[in-house]
């Protein structure tokens, strides 16, 4: 259990880092979704099933859908999906 928890903690930091540093927004959002799912597992390990359910449903489900919609709106009419970061 403790090994699992430490593994998850490493993963949660890694996904947060990747979600922020990836240039491509879509990948960022997928990583944010994974971040939420790992947080869900951590909440379960810490005996909080209600919070885990809410995080799974809202953080990993709803937030992802809304972010995807926004990306599809913002991206239209732009030739490249990779935007310059200056």
């Amino acid at each position: 259990m403790i090994i699992l928890k430490y593994l998850l903690l490493i993963f949660v930091m890694a996904t947060a880092y990747l979600a922020i540093t990836f240039e491509e927004e879509l990948i960022s959002i997928i990583f944010l979704s994974i971040f939420s799912i790992i947080l869900t597992t951590l909440y379960l390990i810490h005996n909080a099933p209600d919070v885990a359910l809410a995080e799974a449903v809202i953080g990993a489900g709803l937030n992802t859908a809304i972010f995807m919609t926004v990306i599809s709106q913002v991206r239209e009419g732009k030739d490249s999906i990779f935007r310059e970061d200056d």
Binding site: I29, A48, D50, I66, V70, V74
Partner: protein, 112 residues
């Protein structure tokens, strides 16, 4: 101890995204990560290493975990979701006027 460390790292990662990233969507992602880090920290801080706060017939009341922080975090999660949904709507609106999600378009976050 390790939980505090993870909280600080996640919180600063989110803050870093808000301060430095040149993309408003990334900044909202950073905001979400900051929120998640605080919720995670609150859960670990008040976890007494006992059972889940749902009685099943056999547990004694004193064996249960603290349910109050969990209720507060549930409220916080919903607040965070509605905040980020509204922010993203504003970003869609901004994109219609400037066709960009660069925060420098709006004069940056730390300029007038």
């Amino acid at each position: 101890m390790i939980n505090n460390f993870v909280f600080v790292v996640l919180f600063l990662l989110g803050f870093y995204a808000i301060l430095v990233k040149k993309n408003l969507i990334k900044m909202v992602i950073g905001l979400n990560i900051m929120e998640g880090s605080i919720f995670f920290w609150f859960i670990t801080l008040t976890d007494r290493g006992k059972m889940i706060p749902i009685v099943n017939g056999t547990q004694v009341a004193s064996q249960l975990n603290d349910p109050v922080p969990q209720a507060l975090i549930l409220t916080g999660i919903v607040i965070g979701a509605s905040t980020s949904a509204f922010l993203l709507t504003l970003i869609i609106e901004l994109d219609k006027f400037t066709s960009s999600t660069n925060p420098d378009q709006i004069g940056g976050m730390i300029e007038d």
